[in-house]
Amino acid sequence: MMSESKKALVIGGGVAGIQSALDLADMGIKVELIEKKPAIGGRMAQLDKTFPTNDCSICILAPKLAECYRHPNITIHTLAEVKSIKGTAGNFEVEVFKKARYVKEDACINCGLCAEKCPMRVDDEFDRELRKRKAIYMYYLQGVPAVMTIDAEKCLYLTKGACRLCEKNCDRNAIDFEMKDSTIILDNIGAIVVASGYSLLEDVNKKFLNTYGYKKFRNVVTALEFERLLSASGPQSGHIKRFSDEKSPKKIAFLQCVGSRNERLHNYCSSICCMYATKEAMIAHEHDNDIESYIFYIDIRAGGKGFQDFIQRGVNEYNIKYVKSKIAQVYIDKEENPVLTYEDLDSGEIKQLTVDMVVLSTCITPPKDIKDLSDSLGIELNEYGFIQTKPYFPIETTKEGIYTCGCAHEPMDIPRSVTEASAAAARAAELIKGGSY
């Protein structure tokens, strides 16, 4: 029988990790939440809207972020990564590496004065490098904790030893260049939930995207980049413009199964692309009713609740045309309009379609650093590079007391991630407070 005082460790502050943490915390269990980035929120925070109801992603996520932050049972560790664990199910000891933020969380009120003065302009990771930020920055507008962060690799003072303008301009003395990276020990951990999320193809293999002209043709973007462009808080404030000529696109092509269902790269199906492509086409159409979209697919995969209706609405109300033909290569014409060659199954003809923009539905891949994480946790990965789980029990990893949820073990949508997050919380709770049965 476990002691009630045991805590839970949740790795990953995306929607899955947050849900696990909240469930456990609401059960009265103390939770340590580890997030690699400067703020929790994960992928969902980057999305403009979410299928199949198309409600604003951040608007439904933000309350959960705040709840997580205020919850007396939850301790959030940002800029943190698990280094190693000791012990067994019911009693783990975890070594966590914390990067210095160089900003005092209790003092900073993210007024942004420091960033105004910062001389460094660097690519904004959250906005998929579609715009610049300063070396001292908010990870994203609604980020939690709502404090600034200094990018140690880019900060002029930390790299060249001169500047400290941010410090001079902070009237709350929140900047602290004396901060050091540190290692903390979290002990008395009863169970661990791994919700480390996913990477996208463009993060792990840009070369494969060359045949699609990605990074070569300016009017070819990936789906997450397009999502940022659609977002009101994104680089184009939601008014999509082509990077080649600032014109607003009228004809957009979405190419499905980019990198997935492919024996040369990732032989699995990325699960969510048919739906997110449809969603993005819908939002684009809502912004500009003249926009027509083409979705080039192999099989339309819409099995979730309300998904078929969603696809139907796409056809009937949003001027989306689904073309059953996989596109292999993208060329451009003189005006940098992407030109696609495809087979029209109905007529059997080979046709060419000139569009204003191409959106690549790049597949979900195992997170970049999943190998390090699995090694330090002592859990196994499966043949696809995701976390190995037990047949018919997708929450169980290969190590007792360590559970997983969300895209860490397989590509999946938000509803299933959230469901698994609660399931993982249940299993962790059994271990921590159960035993009396």
Binding site: E263, T341, E343, D344, I350
Partner: protein, 169 residues
């Protein structure tokens, strides 16, 4: 109306198992230069689908689409997400068609030359001359009888003869 023919299908798969993996995504047809120029009357995907359904008559008799105008550029092979070896499968189909005597004349003349001379283009006196002018060494190709012997072994000679019988002009 065609009837699915599992025997022929299995025969092709026995020769090249990669056929069975095709899920008809149209990558090949969308990437094929010949399909583009012929507006789709040539279509590698359709040939593969016919093979999958074992439609022998369409592949060997009607030859629709015409497998012979594949340029063997191998783009489809490189692009196929399921690693289906299209050109190899087409080769098998063409080989079968040749045995049936259904093959363009252009392939026959080359075959005959190799059968009789061991090489595709015999050396003309003019060329011999030109080689001298260019100070090129003399070439001693394979002894024709050795090659002929081998082509008997492989059955090439008899297939060639059969083709000529079936295509007397």
């Amino acid at each position: 109306m065609s009837i699915i023919n599992f025997e022929f299908r299995d025969e092709v798969i026995k020769h090249n198992a990669s056929l069975s993996y095709c899920y008809q995504c149209s990558t090949c047809s969308g990437g094929c230069p010949v399909a583009l120029i012929t507006g789709g009357s040539y279509n590698p995907r359709k040939i593969i689908e016919e093979a999958l359904l074992g439609l022998e008559d369409w592949l060997l008799e009607k030859q629709e689409p015409n497998v012979w105008i594949c340029s063997t550029c191998q783009k489809c092979v490189e692009l196929c997400p399921q690693k289906v070896e299209l050109t190899e499968i087409f080769t098998l189909i063409k080989n079968k068609a040749f045995i049936e005597g259904k093959c363009p004349e252009g392939f026959i003349s080359q075959g005959e030359s190799v059968l009789n001379h061991g090489i595709a283009i015999p050396y003309s006196p003019a060329i011999m001359n030109r080689r001298k002018k260019l100070e090129l060494p003399e070439v001693n190709p394979a002894p024709p009888e050795e090659i002929k012997k081998l082509l008997k072994e492989t059955g090439f000679e008899s297939n060639l003869t059969r083709w000529k019988e079936k295509n007397v002009v």
